[in-house]
Symmetry: C2
Amino acid sequence: MKNMTKLDTQILEKIYAIVGHAYVEDDPVSLLSYSYDATPGYQSMPQAVVRPKSTEEIAQLLKLCYEYEIPIVPRGSGTNLCAGTVPTEGGIVILFTRMNQILEIDEQNLTITVQPGVITQQLIEQVESLGLFYPPDPSSMKISTIGGNINECSGGLRGLKYGVTKDYVLGLEVVLPQGEIVRTGGKLAKDVAGYDLTKLLVGSEGTLGIITEATLKLIPKPASKKTMLALYPNIEHAAQTVSEIISAKIIPATLEFMDQLTLKTVEDFAQIGLPTDIEAVLLIEQDGHPDVVEQDIQQIAKLCEQYGASSIQIARTVAESEQLTTARRSALTALSRLRPTTILEDATVPRSKIAEMVRSIHRIAEKYEVQICTFGHAGDGNLHPTCVTDYRDEEEMHRVEEAFAEIFEVAIQLGGTITGEHGVGIVKAPYLSWKLGDTGVAAMKAIKQAFDPKNLMNPGKIFAKAERKRIVIKG
Amino acid sequence: MKNMTKLDTQILEKIYAIVGHAYVEDDPVSLLSYSYDATPGYQSMPQAVVRPKSTEEIAQLLKLCYEYEIPIVPRGSGTNLCAGTVPTEGGIVILFTRMNQILEIDEQNLTITVQPGVITQQLIEQVESLGLFYPPDPSSMKISTIGGNINECSGGLRGLKYGVTKDYVLGLEVVLPQGEIVRTGGKLAKDVAGYDLTKLLVGSEGTLGIITEATLKLIPKPASKKTMLALYPNIEHAAQTVSEIISAKIIPATLEFMDQLTLKTVEDFAQIGLPTDIEAVLLIEQDGHPDVVEQDIQQIAKLCEQYGASSIQIARTVAESEQLTTARRSALTALSRLRPTTILEDATVPRSKIAEMVRSIHRIAEKYEVQICTFGHAGDGNLHPTCVTDYRDEEEMHRVEEAFAEIFEVAIQLGGTITGEHGVGIVKAPYLSWKLGDTGVAAMKAIKQAFDPKNLMNPGKIFAKAERKRIVIKG
């Protein structure tokens, strides 16, 4: 039976024997540190925190946990926003701080092979120093691990042109719940040997196995990049421009959106001279061959003007360009200063529905009298309606809850999804059937059951136990 | 119980009631026509051939088949090369000739929504007429269906730069074995609502459900294209050039390889003035912005020269360019004229191992005294060692069998896979565990069991019953 009390001494001894005493923690302070992640309002204590150093150690750990029915929660840096690493059923949190090596960069095959604990930003810097490019760039990339990115299938600002984490995972080494080690895929652009276990595991949120190594696809680094900002007195014109750019057959590297409230907050925070009297901005980047970039940016600027931008600013220097990007990247940080609790969601719609979605978010925020700022990856329809609120106010939290439920409902109605890049975790689990129907959820549960019959791998994630909505689990 | 005799009249009546009498065939001639596909040497009679016109009809059919335990084999145009549509356990072959509509091309979201029976080439032409692009281009595209492409996760000549079918499937409608209808994904660049059922279904070879609709990603059509041919007196130099081009951070749209025997045969067949006295050619295409294409082609030409090409020919006109591509595309047709039986395989290796793989194929062909021509998608390591032989010669066929087994073994040793783009079907099933280990195969079988507990969906594919190798099943 799963239980959340202290682990039996006999079991602890066995864990010590596998990873070494120094790499097991079960003191209250350590357990508390890993009882929550970046998601506000969710907390639950693990029974131990373990830092293995190898796949073999993880295999032994999983065998032990299988025998004694102890839940396992893999955790990178805990930056996820779906409570995906909260150990809701106790058990062992596995950390990858000792499995954080870049094992190989293969320039002939354009691949990088890494352990799960590598920090995303370090990976990106390393490959860029060789003239190569790893596009997925979640906002948390400075601290997130690549293992966490793979488990959640992280997206980022470059998703529109370059895709998401899944599109770059070519092969995995994974330890299955009973301790068997499987290697999927490889340094291969084409591989159809049976079901695609690689893509099934990416985004499976640690519920099917523990990823212990990954081979990722790299591409040549684009030779140049340009950044521009377009200001809109009318938010709908901004949304329309997004569709018009794509319809003109230009795929920018980045096509980001911020509404007025986000903009004001970012400007208060970063003081970079952003205008605060307009309804929306689009932050647009194109990369590639310098001539193509120049041509695209000019054409995009024309479209922005044509569809209602009041002002367009093209960065002249790398510094200016970085300043504009930083503005967008700091949105969450800035917003989180407004009130005690920030809830960042990621309802996603087909890009042609952006205007309708933004309109609906505003209507819903008014209806429930909550404060929702919206920014996000407009180019791929992945919006981040972000509610600044206060968890201590139960009545307001109830309204926040209702507002988000309605936002998800509208997203589904518009042909969208409940989560574009954050994952389901605990937070979205009650809404999963809205997207997939009961049959779709049943199919997923059947896969879970097939892999993990004892439900030990990150239990409580993806699948809701009941129709529970967002509630605070007190630690 | 599954049985391969004539279907019970009572069951036939029920099928008539679902799809209409006119769309059910069970006369010997019709059954014979669907007893085999493009894969030489595999044949088995179905019990009925049914042409439903809607998802609803398919759902009803599957419910019926589930009740009476009748196997179901979905079939597009039967162009696959893994015996993926041979009804080895009898049952009903479902055809999609009445579900062959393009339902929508959405220019704002860059998607196309199609029924499974749409011919790939028609889809490609339709979207190109709008300035859009659907890159996957299997050699069979003139007659293959998109449903077949999705079930097999077809590749093609443009895989290196643009990826394969999987990379373009955004959403599916699928009927599960018990007749439930599920819709996965959508017009969404980002969607992490649970396990990726879409990518699991792509390439699942009809073993998990029947795909009844697909939403595919489109991209803007590249503005221009250039084609070139580089001739090599030394085959290893050709292989090395492939790696050097990628290492120089150029990703051509197409990077194809043909060895001398293939070349001679194609020239005999197509009479287009190909040289036949050299060991290998590379056919290289780049597409994109005209300036970039020009620059890349010049740089590639330089690299070809530097690494041993004796002659380089850059097509000056579209007609010349098409002639060069046609040469490569007609390789299989040309080779199939040499002897009664042509076995086209698709062992795939990391691209840096192409030279070693080609060398091994030559060595193995000599060892077993069989004639193997090699051509294929060198840029993505996806080679097509093709044996021209005669199925009537049992002794020779045994040597062919042994030779291919050794080729797969070498591919795996080099970090490759047993199939890059043809699928497992019946042909590769005995070798699947070489790639994935018994644990990997067990994980796949668990998924199959979870979806299809009665094993009715295209039974006998992907998973081998015993260590059976390539043998002729007489019709």
